[in-house]
């Protein structure tokens, strides 16, 4: 287990600079919006990880409610925590990019608004964990929220899409005029961020295991 974690860490440290090289040197500068478009690679990669993390939390929440093992609860919590981090990155990079291309920091577009709602759901999830003292209840309550939150995100997306939309729809148009080199850089960035996510989740999982170990050791010491 330790060797697997170390291998992921080393791989992440190597792949992140590679992704930077692909984004800044390999992919051509976009003709219309210029150098600002470089933010796209990290924006899309963070969005992928942010939404993927919610899916992991959802699956682990179901497994926890069925099997009641610590592993699925820890993984759900770790994934939500790292998911919130990447979700914040999506919102911040998105705002910077929006300011330079659309001229406004924020628009009520479905993808932006859905990401923001995802951010709120993740925050609520982490608050709920923090404010529930009993560890068994913590797992059950947060699993319920993890499941409901996952079902809610697509409904949020479609409702906001009916309301208004201006976000460029790159994926549905099958790459929509994107240079093949840009596509490559995007996929490298996605791979790099996924590795970073796995590496961070591993660390959070080990912390959770240690916390539990010392919590029980403490209890044993107190009870003699």
């Amino acid at each position: 287990m330790k060797r697997y974690c170390a291998a992921i860490d080393i791989l992440t440290i190597i792949v992140i600079p590679v992704a930077l090289w692909f984004a800044f040197f390999y992919a051509p500068v976009e003709a219309r919006t210029g150098i600002v478009q470089k933010i796209f690679y990290f924006h899309v990669a963070s969005a992928w990880v942010g939404f993927g993390a919610l899916f992991t939390t959802f699956v682990c929440s179901i497994i926890f409610l069925v099997k009641r093992n610590h592993f699925s609860d820890d993984l759900a919590a770790a994934s939500a925590e790292i998911g919130l981090l990447f979700c914040t990155v999506v919102l911040l990079t998105g705002m910077i990019w929006a300011k330079s291309t659309w001229g406004a920091w924020w628009t009520w577009d479905p993808r932006l608004t859905t990401s923001l709602m995802l951010w709120f759901i993740y925050s609520g999830y982490l608050f709920l964990r923090k404010f529930t003292d009993d560890s068994e209840k913590r797992g059950k309550y947060s699993a319920v929220l993890g499941i409901i939150g996952f079902f809610d995100v697509p409904v949020v997306f479609f409702s906001i899409r009916w309301w208004r939309t201006i976000h460029p729809n790159v994926v549905q148009q099958g790459g929509g005029g994107m240079h093949p080199k840009m596509m490559t850089a995007m996929f490298v960035a996605i791979a790099a961020f996924t590795l970073l996510y796995v590496s961070l989740v591993n660390k959070r999982m080990r912390l959770a295991a240690l916390e539990r170990k010392y919590y029980f050791k403490d209890l044993e010491d107190k009870n003699g």
């Binding site: 409610l65 709602m117 709120f120 759901i121 925050s123 609520g124 608050f127 709920l128 404010f131 529930t132 003292d133 209840k137 059950k140 309550y141 699993a143 319920v144 929220l145 499941i147 409901i148 939150g149 079902f151 809610d152 409904v155 949020v156 479609f158 409702s159 906001i160 009916w162 309301w163």
Partner: protein
């Protein structure tokens, strides 16, 4: 199935007779909703034209904020006396407990709206229920709100800082429902053609169906000790 309905009915009767004697939930919800409506009216100049468009939003916001208070209070009375523990220990289906609570909360909120609607119409000079479909909008939205609200209020009541937990968990999940309610109310009171509001009305009911099934499945996990 018949036993299930009987249990739900008994639980609803218990809540209603309790509320009939104390009137704590209804009174505090109503006064708070009234207050929100009055405070929101400072945003508009009197007789402004957009009022009809925005009024629906104000109405739903007032209802949701007061509903958050009412739900918290309604669940608190179950927790403090240890009533919910007694219910969970009794040999009845957990889903009956849940839907009993949902139905009594739904009744409280619908009765409150019977008083709110004429009052709101008088203050804002807008008749929200100008179309017969508005009854479906009110029923569907209130049900969806109360459904997830009851589930989350049971969770929030057992955490530290429960007052802040309920809105923090509930509001992000309610976003599609609130949006759909505001859109349908606006379109119906402006007399827009059906294609403007039918999809939103469908969304309200799809939302209710999805989360009724999800809540029925996960509720066991919330109550078990």
């Amino acid at each position: 199935m018949l036993k299930f309905i009987k249990v739900v009915f008994a639980l609803v009767r218990k809540d209603i007779s309790l509320e009939y004697r104390t009137k704590e939930i209804m009174n505090s919800m109503f006064v708070f909703a009234f207050l929100v409506v009055v405070v929101f009216s400072f945003i508009f100049d009197p007789g402004e034209h957009e009022q009809a468009q925005i009024a629906g939003g104000v109405y739903w916001m007032a209802l949701i904020f007061s509903g958050l208070l009412g739900l918290g209070k309604s669940m608190q009375s179950e927790i403090t006396g240890g009533n919910i523990e007694a219910l969970i220990l009794s040999p009845i289906s957990r889903n009956a407990i849940f839907f009993g609570k949902v139905i009594s909360n739904l009744i409280f909120m619908l009765v409150m709206q019977l008083v709110m609607l004429p009052l709101f119409a008088a203050l804002y000079e807008v008749n929200i229920v100008s179309h017969v479909l508005m009854i479906a909008v009110i029923a569907g939205t209130t049900y969806g709100f109360v459904l997830l609200g009851t589930l989350f209020s049971l969770i929030a009541a057992r955490t530290r800082s429960r007052e802040i937990m309920l809105p923090l968990l509930l509001l992000p999940v309610l976003v599609p429902l609130i949006l759909a309610a505001i859109q349908t109310t606006g379109a119906l009171s402006a007399g827009d053609p059906p294609e403007e509001y039918m999809k939103w009305l469908r969304l309200i009911f799809v939302y209710d169906i999805i989360f009724t099934s999800v809540a029925a499945v996960v509720f066991d996990a919330v109550t078990e000790e």
